[in-house]
Symmetry: D3
Subunit: 196 residues, 6 copies
Amino acid sequence: MSDTEIGRYPIPELAELPDDIRTRMLDVQEKAGFIPNVFLVLAHRPAEFRAFFAYHDALMEREESTLTPAEKEMIIVATSAANGCQYCVVAHGALLRIFAKEPLLADQIAVNYLHAPLTERQKAMLAFALKLSRSPELVSEADYQTLYEQGYTDDDIWDIAGITAFFGLSNRMAIVTAMQANREFYTMAREPRVKS
Amino acid sequence: MSDTEIGRYPIPELAELPDDIRTRMLDVQEKAGFIPNVFLVLAHRPAEFRAFFAYHDALMEREESTLTPAEKEMIIVATSAANGCQYCVVAHGALLRIFAKEPLLADQIAVNYLHAPLTERQKAMLAFALKLSRSPELVSEADYQTLYEQGYTDDDIWDIAGITAFFGLSNRMAIVTAMQANREFYTMAREPRVKS
Amino acid sequence: MSDTEIGRYPIPELAELPDDIRTRMLDVQEKAGFIPNVFLVLAHRPAEFRAFFAYHDALMEREESTLTPAEKEMIIVATSAANGCQYCVVAHGALLRIFAKEPLLADQIAVNYLHAPLTERQKAMLAFALKLSRSPELVSEADYQTLYEQGYTDDDIWDIAGITAFFGLSNRMAIVTAMQANREFYTMAREPRVKS
Amino acid sequence: MSDTEIGRYPIPELAELPDDIRTRMLDVQEKAGFIPNVFLVLAHRPAEFRAFFAYHDALMEREESTLTPAEKEMIIVATSAANGCQYCVVAHGALLRIFAKEPLLADQIAVNYLHAPLTERQKAMLAFALKLSRSPELVSEADYQTLYEQGYTDDDIWDIAGITAFFGLSNRMAIVTAMQANREFYTMAREPRVKS
Amino acid sequence: MSDTEIGRYPIPELAELPDDIRTRMLDVQEKAGFIPNVFLVLAHRPAEFRAFFAYHDALMEREESTLTPAEKEMIIVATSAANGCQYCVVAHGALLRIFAKEPLLADQIAVNYLHAPLTERQKAMLAFALKLSRSPELVSEADYQTLYEQGYTDDDIWDIAGITAFFGLSNRMAIVTAMQANREFYTMAREPRVKS
Amino acid sequence: MSDTEIGRYPIPELAELPDDIRTRMLDVQEKAGFIPNVFLVLAHRPAEFRAFFAYHDALMEREESTLTPAEKEMIIVATSAANGCQYCVVAHGALLRIFAKEPLLADQIAVNYLHAPLTERQKAMLAFALKLSRSPELVSEADYQTLYEQGYTDDDIWDIAGITAFFGLSNRMAIVTAMQANREFYTMAREPRVKS
């Protein structure tokens, strides 16, 4: 694969796509300035595309969630790094920089969350997410107790698990499609915010 | 949790559920004779429920797929066993017995597919699915070559990967919700088919 | 190997076997209705056969043991599943269903004992058995303390260790001989007991 | 445990032991000059003692075996080191030095057989033994092909597997009983043989 | 540790340092514009500091080496990511961007070198480096054959091994000292080079 | 490699070596009665040789260290055994026998420190060293707390980490150079000290 390609599977032309899928792509393009490759690669199969983004939105835009947008991205970056998924680490690393307004945090979590400047509560969340992601067979009641002690509720646990599980799916599809992260993601939000 | 409970989260009353979700449950109940617990447990969050089953159907009912129904269930049983997911091994073990018309195969694959009576091609499919499921970070171009040599196409590989990835998600949600397999699944299709 | 074969090694004719071995087989056949394949496969080497079953009986029929028959089978099913041994999971799964009078338990423990309806004491027993089976090099004094806290004595620990160790041997012989579980084991005791 | 103790379980007095067990101990004492602790520790349970040594003899003294005594000890040393079993590495290291007439080999194999002066055929034997010992669930038909290519027969494979499996049992019993290797074993046969 | 601290150990004042160490720091500061924290943290122990940098220079500035500066940094980034060392991934990621003149490569290798745009020869180098770094006990003659087939010589192998081994040391010291990567490294050389 | 060779790389003639390196070798030869092969093998690259031994001396001869010489050797033997390094286990096993004046301890720690007659404090030191050596990415603040509770200071932790890290480097160089332990090391100090 040349480094200008964006995946192992054919990328459909925008004009050929079903209206709803094309519209979603144009919306994200207008907002972000470019179309993230996950949209282009997954459009190869429209039915799976629709279910993928419906699931994504259900989890990531759930109004009642008490996890902050930055915390959700922390889960994604940490588990995607463990799974070796370039697209997800780079793209969600950018989102984490944006939401956390902290330009170093994404790289720190991608390498080793244990050495990142996080709260104990956030570290407990990531420890659980990584255990569920990498060794689901070892998760047991004691893990929930640890999360309860940090103040997480059962609905928080569902959120953490859902995001971990969904991006585990996403990681595997990105790996098998050889999905490349757009260049824009690598440099996005790397400068410290200016205090106004 | 008592052994009559079906999960760690509240199970909504059917009457309270949105129409589309209740209808789906009643349809499956009519067909199977009972409501599989995955429907009851996931109904706790309707938006995720809808995306989950839309994804499920997009993968499992994709018309162009060359994988047989039994082969799809083999992937699910093998990867779910590795992930330690009781619900998925038991429920999809039942489906594998039904589709394969071979009452021993599900248990054999759940314990160790290397010792199950499968073709080399099927073993290559399961080897890939297990590698992607358990060590996605190690998947590389050489793995696709192995599958090509067995006659799998890139769209077959997407199917295998999609099913592996989706049921990886499903395994993690079943584990965290402590989803119990319905008793019916344990005994379903355990008798050898009568040759007519 | 065709699926009607029962192993990779020659199976001796009953008539050719030494009297003591043939008698043991006929006894078990009378009791069970069939000869479990472990007898047929191991009879290839009479001296090892005799030692194997002498060891088996010494451990499993030890009168002073406080472990229940069902608990012994739990250890066998859990460790054999981890070791990927089809024969032992299927055959001892059947025995576990018989002894525990609980038709779901064997499959639940085979997939993941952490999600099976067991007491904390039984889970501690299985945690120890699995550690000893899979990572004997990590067993240390702290593990015995955990068992003592659950009320296990040093002789119980010897029993747990002995069963774990012996069936670890059995697993490896069953794997290398490609020993197939008899069809009868798959369906045995799957119906719930009728309360009389 | 003080370093003069030889295990976590009570050691019976010789006078109290059943005749056959005491006789076996006195025989080995006459031959070796001391009673190896494995006899003393396992005598705590006579029935298991008898089966253990019957199995040991059936495997290690099988007349038809084409494995040399040194090769059998290589298997024991390599797998016992991987399992972290002090008694077996030290005691069988001594036997390996005696049988191989090569004073460095036992330590070399205990640390890493890949860097020991062995033939390719012996390395293939140890690679198989270690895979079966440490990851039995991964053993498959391809492993036997590798051994066939090195000239091993199915009966050789049974020997390798049997020794691996039996000493896997032995390792676990030695670990749980905290069996200490006799001081004599540490220095036995460490001097190079004098060429006569 | 607050995120303005640079490690768990006291950082000596420049004025207190031995002349040779202070001079080395001032030299690097003049060249880079800042003092990388590895100098400040390791200066806590001058004798180890001197040996560390002497070793570093002997390996990284060895004139006869056929590895390019970018290839040396690839080894460091890949192995440091596997070891979870924030300082080394971030600092040497910056150097890799500088030497490779390819702003995406460091992040791609840090996440998963199998999906980075590298030659087969470079991937073989990194596969060996990662095996030596993470599982040195498994390295065997076959690994050198694989490298020879890619055209690597024994002196190249020493270089690869030396860099892997030295930065394995460096990773462990950075982890235990909680060494923080300077902010400057995170953004260095992230813009694509302008073709002149 | 024949078993009289001492490594995969050319061994320079003493006469060809730089004065400082030759002098160091002759000094050790005078003291030990032979030249340990690590000197001969690493002399292939003088600059790395000098840095290697400078680092070695800085760590092992640091006057302020509260670790005893035997404790330093325990760390080396335990971590080198885990890394599968024959040279380091055999050579430093000899040094451990000498310093500890306990002829069994080196073999016991090489096989499994959990079953060696060590204090709880020493076991905590080795547990930390092994974690840092084998899974540096998992080391976290909790590990230091465990060491503090055993009375270790931050400077002790640096010592433990430095020795672990340096001999991790040494292990990898010994493995890749196929460095053979001198025969003398195998038998050194195996007899119990005579109490005077």
